[in-house]
Symmetry: C2
Subunit: 211 residues, 2 copies
């Protein structure tokens, strides 16, 4: 992350080791609390306790509750969009889409708290993300939709509305993280939701996209 590794306690222009550690602890705690309780349901006391800090100490590192929340959302976005960014225009169309599905499902399995944080935010109307949704995200989707549409024109992918194809990938993969409670309640014991979902979604998108 840092280009400068000198300075015993303080890489100049960067952060102290202590700052690094405490900010990380706060973000980790914030992720746990925000994703479980939503923005309004989360309290600074709870986050501070989870991070093993006092509340004023937490506020020494972040100026407000909202700042913690915002930092989390910003951190999130890169990881969240990476799988779509990785969609390779030079690859095999169906396999590229399936790879995207697989990567997105892995995110849901491995980072369910991040998924819920994001879902909570969009559910509330995305007060913090609105610029990103209409800006960076839209641009990325436009770009990749163009790739998908080219594949469709070349007859290498079945013709479907490209942006809705992307939506359906988001919907299906997020569902297993965000509605985990419901999924497990309905399936009952003796199931591995994510493993089953992986197979099912592969089937689904293969049948949908086979030219």
């Amino acid at each position: 992350m840092s280009s400068e590794s000198e300075g015993p306690t303080r890489p100049q222009g960067g952060r102290t080791r202590i700052q690094e550690r405490n900010r990380a602890a706060i973000l980790e705690a914030g992720l746990a609390v925000f994703s479980a309780a939503g923005f309004s349901g989360a309290t600074l006391d709870r986050i501070a306790k989870e991070a093993r800090l006092s509340k004023p100490n937490l506020l020494y590192y972040f100026p407000s509750k909202e700042a913690v929340h915002l930092a989390l959302l910003e951190n999130l976005l890169d990881a969240w969009l990476a799988p779509l960014r990785a969609l390779d225009p030079e690859g095999d169309p169906v396999e590229e889409v399936l790879l995207y599905v697989r990567r997105k499902l892995d995110l849901s399995r491995d980072f369910p708290r991040e998924s819920r944080l994001f879902a909570n935010e969009v559910l509330r109307g995305a007060p913090h993300l609105s610029d990103l949704l209409g800006g960076e995200l839209k641009r990325l989707v436009d770009e990749k939709a163009a790739v998908l549409e080219r594949w469709m024109e070349d007859g290498r992918l079945a013709r479907v509305p490209a942006r809705h194809l992307v939506f359906s990938i988001w919907a299906l993969t997020q569902h297993y993280a965000d509605f985990d409670t419901q999924v497990r309640a309905v399936l009952g014991d003796g199931h591995d939701p994510f493993a089953e979902a992986g197979d099912y979604l592969e089937t689904l998108f293969r049948r949908l996209l086979r030219p």
Copy 2:
């Protein structure tokens, strides 16, 4: 609802007209506020104001904030499960599933607040719904999954994991209500998300389920 229609102001055993009206206004206001702000973000003052009642007056009709929330969830469930209940074992397999998809998507379009209320609750781990999810809902899904599996065995429906098929219908239709902000941000102007979704989902499930 009431079997007795006599009694000028009070159908015996039932509710006064005033009670009927005010309870309805509170539930309507509660739906608006809870779905927009989540449980913790909603305040009694806001709900009361929306319902044009004073806060103590609201609490005259419902004993607590939680009671309003609970009443809303209970009201919701019947309407929410109706489309699945309507899946007809005697009908044409593919058309029955498509009809279910269509009905569920209509719910998302016409009752987005209910959809978000539900999503919010499940996201939080469904503290209120947990019995229903593991009970009534599970039973209904089990029953309909059996129908779907029979159709698959008879070769009238492509073979897929029945419960995950149901999940995918939930995920895809709810998405257009719960992530409406994101969908519209990405699509930009000049789109009718629900109309496009209707066509796309029909294609998707037809290709998936065609035997």
